[in-house]
Structure formats: structure tokens, C-alpha cells
Amino acid sequence: MIKITFDKLNPELITNSIKNPNNGAVITFLGTTRNYTENRKVLHLEYEAYAPMAEKKLNEIIKYIQKKWDINDIYIAHRLGKVEIGEISLVVSISSPHRKSAFIACEYVIDTLKLTVPIWKKEFFQDESKWVNEPKF
């Protein structure tokens, strides 16, 4: 299951939705917004996505981990729009018969998501705002 949404994310609902009696392990990772970046105070963040492509790329990641590891269910949710400090921007919830494969798959999902899924983050400071990873020349 994939959700890219402007609404607040509810990790408890997400986690419950993938729990089932075949699983011995459910892992839920939360990405939360930080108040400092390179010693500068961040007031809030904004996320933007190329949603149809982001969904396609997330689906590819899900298919890959289901084939590679012993994963039953997975739910990836990403928040868009304005996100206040301390709020949840990403939820990755994975269920598996055994914990080891769930941990490995969860880390793979987050690492890959940050490389291939077209979602961008803008940090708002006191005096300016900046897209993260904008190339400098």
C-alpha cells in the first residue's frame, strides 16, 4: 500500500493495517522533521512530489523487497505540503514472519526512496528558504 498525501500521517492506523497472524514481526519507521540543519534553525518544511512517478517508483521498491526478502505486507506513506517541526513526514511499515528480514527490508526501502523517488523537501529558515540538494555552482 502506498499513500502520498497532504494529510497528517497516522502511524498507528498504518501499523495496524498490516498486522496479521502470519507475522512474527512488524516494524514501523517514522521519519520526523528536524528543527536544525547545519546549525541553522528550521521553522518548518515543505514537501513536493511528482506523485504518479513517485507511486510508480515506490511500487517498484515494494515488488523488489517482496521478492528478495520474506515480507508479507508493506505500507509506505509520505506527507506533502507544509510540515511543522517534529511532525511525521514518512512512515514505512513492514510485516514479516521474522524480524531480521523486516529490519533489512525497511532500511533498504528508506535508502532507495531517498535516491529514486521524486519527492523534494524545502527548508524554511528565519531569513530564507532553500530546496534541499539544490546544486550549488
Binding site: 512530489a49 517508483k57 531517498k114 523534494w120
Partner: protein, 83 residues
Amino acid sequence: MQIKIKFFAFYKEKTKTKNTIIEMQQNATIQDLSELIIKNYPNLSKFKNKFIFAVNYEYQDYKYILNDCDEVALIPPVSGGSK
């Protein structure tokens, strides 16, 4: 042929454009499109040869030959998720 172009994040801000349509010759490549984009939006010229393109939701390189009605997106370096 007509190619749909989508800009995101800082590309969208620098071009003040979210979506546009560019007219191109048959068999034009991403390389041709890249040059046309810089011609139309000179303030993107510092990103020349650094653009990452997706065609119909799939990453493609500069040799890719475009087709009529393709949706091409300029993909800024990704920064979603969390560190």
C-alpha cells in the same frame, strides 16, 4: 510533435513554470530537448548537462528518442524521506 514538460522544486521556481508544451522535430532526443530548455529558460543554463530527465515516469538518458505526447519531467536531486 508535442512534448509535455513538467518542472518541480527549484526548477519550477526558476522558470516560474509548472507545465508547458514544447514543439519538437520527429526523432528529437533528450539532448535536443535539454538544449531547447536552456534556450527557452536561460537562467537554467548553469544546470546544463546536469539535468535528470524522466519520460513517462521512467528515468532516461540523453540519447533517448522522444515520441509525440511524451510527458517529460526535469527531476531535481531527490530529497524526500528522512535522514
